[in-house]
């Protein structure tokens, strides 16, 4: 009897170590190249690029959160953009309150759009957002509570598969419509913008931008370690079992709905953190972040990188968004959506395991003893 295979897989496999090294490396390197080098140096990274890269990193964290539930539990959420946007709005509300008298109307308490709407006092749900710790809590709490309530009903009613995907899509669409309304008190169509500073630091300054970038990289690294810790625990094994044979899991004595709910809430909170880091770097949050197309785009990132690999999801997010930045700024701009659609079709047809999944498969074939590669996806087979 071999004792080798009773050893749990390492928290960080080879790919995980490489991933963390790169993430932590850029967390130091990019800010350093931006802050320490003179602008005429060939290695200088302009501040706008730092923010652009920072945006990619928040997308990578968002993709990671989707991979946790799609790759490991089989929950295809087509509404994850909603959790990202809610985290973003929570941060945006804090940033709005920091503007103070520097707004166009100079009201010390009310954000400009409220003055414009002739509101006399701050609505109750804006209370407390002048304090950063409260806002930070809301970044986790708002998406977490929505996921808890939504998931509690959906998973208890045993809504699965395409039906679940459809109602997640409906959820984000409903929020899109709600946030568009001026009466909601979240700035309507225009959303929240004109941010001035964060924790007392000028949000436009190089130092703040570089710090936000570094924090995004750290959040991505932390999110990866958390997901990896979860999926290799006994809890994570149950998640994969649910993905492959949910009925069997129930007949084995596990409450599948509770496992799904925990994973869904953790995933929503990670998406919320990603949104909160995204907003100060792009300088705006508006209802378009809730649009269903955004959520579908996240799925494309994960599919391209490799579902159920974590590293792949992050890689996919960065690659697709780099391509998006590249192609939407030139002659090809009008055709970007066709390219995105084409990419999804191509990946589904020719690279069904995504880039990293295909690489793992190739490595597996070359080297007989199995290591820390994620469990390959089996077709879900309903128990008879």
């Amino acid at each position: 009897m071999s004792t080798l295979d009773t050893r749990p897989p390492a928290l960080l496999g080879t790919s995980g170590q490489i991933f963390l090294a790169i993430t932590l490396g850029v967390a130091v390197l990019v800010p350093a190249l931006n802050l320490l080098l003179p602008p005429d140096s060939p290695f200088y990274i302009p501040t706008y690029v730092v923010s652009l890269l920072g945006k990619y990193l928040t997308y990578a964290l968002l993709a990671l959160s989707v991979d946790l539930i799609w790759g490991y539990v089989g929950i295809l959420s087509l509404g994850h953009g909603a959790f990202f946007a809610l985290g973003g709005y929570a941060m945006g509300m804090y940033l709005m309150r920091q503007i103070g008298t520097r707004g166009v109307y100079g009201d010390p308490v009310l954000p400009d759009f409220m003055v414009f709407l002739n509101w006399k006092e701050l609505p109750w749900f804006w209370w407390g957002f002048d304090m950063f710790p409260y806002a930070a809590l809301m970044v986790l709490f708002a998406p977490g509570v929505l996921a808890l309530v939504f998931g509690w009903f959906a998973f208890r009613s045993r809504v699965t598969g395409v039906y679940l995907s459809i109602i997640t899509q409906a959820m984000t669409f409903a929020l899109l419509l709600a946030f568009f309304r001026n009466d909601m008190g979240f700035g309507g169509n225009n959303g929240l913008t004109d941010f001035k500073d964060i924790l007392g630091f000028n949000i436009q300054s190089d130092g703040t931008r570089a710090t936000l970038f570094a924090l995004s990289a750290l959040a991505l690294a932390g999110g990866y370690v958390l997901c990896r810790f979860l999926v290799r625990s006994h809890f994570g094994k149950v998640l994969v079992a649910i993905r492959d044979a949910e009925t069997r899991v129930r007949f084995t004595g596990y409450r599948a709905e509770n496992y799904k709910l925990v994973a869904f809430v953790v995933s929503a909170m990670l998406a919320g953190i990603a949104g909160a880091l995204y907003v100060p770097q792009v300088g705006i949050i508006n209802p378009s972040e809730f649009s269903p197309a955004n959520s579908i785009e996240i799925i494309v990132w994960v599919a391209v990188g490799g579902r159920g690999t974590l590293v792949g999801a992050a890689l996919g997010a960065v690659l697709v968004n780099y391509a998006k930045t590249y192609f939407t700024s030139g002659l090809l701009a009008p055709y970007w959506l066709f390219m995105l659609g084409g990419l999804f079709v191509a990946v589904t047809l020719f690279l069904p395991k995504g880039i990293v999944g295909t690489f793992y498969e190739w490595r597996e074939k070359r080297r007989p003893p199995p290591d820390e590669a994620a469990p390959p996806l089996a077709e879900p087979r309903p128990a008879e």
Binding site: M1, H234, F235, R248
Partner: protein, 267 residues
């Protein structure tokens, strides 16, 4: 092994009248209708603690529906399903609660976790913590490891422990699933067609395995078509037909029954 006692013939009436409090499993007048089709028709029978029972019957006789009723997958329209001496009403509970009570089920189609290793399949099934949050921080104890090794010995898959569940042969999957049942340590095992698609040698080994499990104090209900296998088990046999018990007794008694020959065995 106490096969001689279980082979004692007993008339159907005596069993039906048996006291509710003595039975491990007690079904009385269970009726299930699907779109007008009566899958179970006032089905009544009991299983004693420590008993092994084989159930035969033609396709559509209600064998799988009976298991669905016991394990909470289907709610009966009428009738009682009690467990553990009448203390628990199974019709009020869901699959997970029933499993936790100590009723394990093997499905007709072998259902193992295909992308987990054989070892992880057993780890997942092993009796223990089932709540989500504590399982995030769960550590495997030496006791649990020993128990898993024991089960591997029983189901003879020790050298396959590192392979993926999906990579096993059909017969090995059946054994793994039986091993997963054992790991749950249920009071009652419901085993649906365990030897379907097995070679003769595998079939004989499976009969041996189930007898061993039964000898260790687990009650077992086996649904099977394979008569050789049922004979190998050497236990009381019950023939279902159109949702109720047609005949019950030793295999010889049941297979000599005119009605059984007519509807199931053929002349």
């Amino acid at each position: 092994m106490s096969t001689t006692e279980t082979l004692e013939p007993a008339p159907v009436d005596a069993i039906a009248k048996k006291d509710l409090t003595e039975a491990l499993l007690y079904l009385d007048g269970v009726t299930v209708t699907f779109d007008g089709f009566r899958a179970l028709n006032a089905l009544s029978f009991t299983v004693d603690p420590g008993e092994m029972r084989a159930i035969i019957g033609p396709n559509g006789a209600g064998k799988t529906t009976m298991m669905d009723c016991i394990t909470g997958k289907t709610r009966p329209d009428r009738g009682d399903v009690f467990f553990a001496g009448g203390t628990v009403d199974l019709t009020k509970l869901d699959e997970t609660q029933i499993c936790t009570l100590g009723i394990g089920r093997k499905f007709q189609k072998p259902t193992v976790f295909e992308s987990h290793t054989v070892l992880d399949n057993l780890r997942l099934a092993l009796k223990g913590q089932r709540s989500a949050l504590p399982n995030i921080f769960r550590k495997e104890t030496a006791e649990q490891r020993d128990r898993i090794d024991e089960i591997f010995e029983t189901i003879k898959l020790t050298e396959h422990r590192g392979r993926l569940g999906g990579a096993l042969s059909h017969g090995q999957k059946q054994w793994l699933e039986i091993g997963m049942l054992l790991a749950q340590d249920p009071k009652l095992l419901l085993v649906d067609e365990p030897v379907a698609g097995m070679t003769d040698a595998e079939t004989a080994q499976t009969a041996e395995l189930l007898r061993e499990i039964n000898a260790n104090g687990h009650s077992v209900v086996v649904v099977e078509h394979d008569m050789t296998f049922v004979r190998d088990l050497g236990v009381r046999v019950m023939c279902l037909h159109e949702g109720s018990v047609l005949a019950e007794g030793t295999l010889d008694q049941v297979s000599a029954n005119e009605r059984v020959i007519e509807v199931y065995l053929g002349r």
